[in-house]
Amino acid sequence: MSVAIERIGFDVERIRADFPILAERVHGRKLVFLDSAASAQKPRAVIDAMVRTMETRYANVHRGLHWMSERCSDDYEGARDKVAAFLNAAREEIVFVRNATEAINLVAHSYGRTVLQPGDAVVVSEMEHHANLVPWQMLRDSHGIELRIAKITEAGELDFHDLERNFADGRVRLLAITHMSNVLGTYTPVERLAAFAHAYGARILLDGAQAAVHRAVDVRAIDADFYVFSGHKLYGPSGIGVLYGKRELLEAMPPFLGGGDMIRSVSYEKSSWAEPPYRFEAGTPAIIETIGLGAAIDYVNAIGFEAIAAHERSLTDHALAVLSDIDGLHVLGRAQDRGGVVAFTLDGVHAHDVATLLDKQGIAVRAGHHCAEPLTRRLGQDSTARASFGVYTTHGEIDALVSGLRRVKQVFG
């Protein structure tokens, strides 16, 4: 354990005790869960908050004139306050959606079809998750915008020269880009990117699905126009995600879905819309999951991002060092600023065989293109294996991964 972590008093064993699933055994072996970037495990505090809601304080929100609905609405809206504080935003700027994917689709559909005009350009990077590529392709095909792809360097960092080339003709109106790559682990310099986009008169959307888990996000300091993340990667439940949008942008945007809760008044002839964020929350929301997300935010705040970031930095440094000792293993990406995901290939062994053979040893990793197929191909691969880390990951688990990979090499001779 590094000196930095000892100074903060990070106790990974105490944290592990908060996650019931980590006591499970898989194929008769102790679970080594190295797939948190796909979805993280849930602490007792999140599970309890959701169960408590269902057992003692549950009713539909915003509608009931009774005690249960009032209490449940308080908890639901309390979660919005927690998210707002988490991002340093105002509560009116926090829209609850299903996940980061839905948040980007909301922006593409609502902002994209009104503010963006045919012939305007949207720029994404080569290292986007499908969630931040496909919605823009769909907008291109239906609405006539141009979609441009900014290149990455061989190290797996954004190529600023290419970004400038993409912006040179002045037609770019939106830069939609990841805050941290789910394959390369690369953090993008978001403050610099926001300033860059704004200097060209463009807006910036940041896909924070990975980054929001690993470091503190301040949307005001970044000057982000839109920021999205998912609850389930942040130790919260699936089915709840967040769209942050600057107030003036959300106020000018039409609804995404129509239905209950998002209206001001409805007649048979026409309807008018509620103010943000409710304009974008049609129908009964994911009440229990939203309250679970609030509990997840309380949980990570109690640990603190300084400690989380130091722990994950230490894990990533350790992983890069010990994995490089394995002959024939190649790590993808070598960005200066990288987070706790390490994608790799092993000579002569397909990533699926790596994942299956590790699974038999109780070690869970992901294999495939990680919902970033164009990036995987750009890197000259069909498929890679990926280990990813969370607050509960230990240095011993990374050592177990290394032993497991040596066993894979034995089987494949």
């Binding site: 194929h27 008769g28 072996r29 062994v349 397909h350 990533a351 699926h352 065989d353 299956t356 053979l357 038999k360 040893q361 294999a367 495939g368 293109h369 197929e373 995987t376 069909d382 498929s383 066993r407 089987v411 494949f412 001779g413």
Partner: protein, 149 residues
């Protein structure tokens, strides 16, 4: 060790041999039909080409981009179907897919080395790796049926 035994249950010698050095890999110079099987979830791809010898399969080749299970399944399929009629291959494909789905190895003399893949059954996420080559073969046979009426 338990894990060693169970790993070798899946990655048997025959599977590893065929994954390393497949006998039917490549592309037939002359063929009557070809088809591709794709698994978009994982990127595995099998390209099967077949040449007929009267109403039987005279030769088969496969170009497989995928894992050890997929490559060996394509190669062992080649062993099993050469010399067989279309109806016989249809039955064999059904029996193979049933084995992967249920884990039960069929009692058929023509099944031979295909039994080596029965261990795939316990890995649900890998079933398609084993069945993808058969899917491509069925598609290729469909084309020859069409052509030959």
């Amino acid at each position: 060790m338990q894990d060693v035994a169970s790993i070798e249950d899946l990655y048997q010698n025959l599977i590893m041999e065929r994954a390393r050095a497949p006998c039917h890999a490549g592309s037939l110079a002359a063929f009557d039909a070809e088809a591709e099987g794709d698994n978009p979830m994982c990127g595995d791809r099998v390209h099967v080409r077949i040449r007929r010898d009267r109403n039987r399969i005279g030769a088969l080749s496969h170009e497989t981009r995928g894992c050890a299970i997929c490559i060996s399944a394509a190669d062992l399929m080649g062993d099993a179907v050469i010399g067989k009629s279309q109806d016989e291959i249809g039955e064999l494909a059904d029996a193979f897919e049933t084995m992967i789905a249920t884990g039960n190895t069929p009692d058929r003399p023509d099944f031979a080395d295909l039994r080596a893949l029965s261990g795939v059954h316990t890995y649900r996420s890998r079933h398609r790796c084993a069945t993808l080559p058969w899917q491509a073969l069925r598609a290729a046979l469909g084309k020859t049926e069409h052509r030959h009426g």
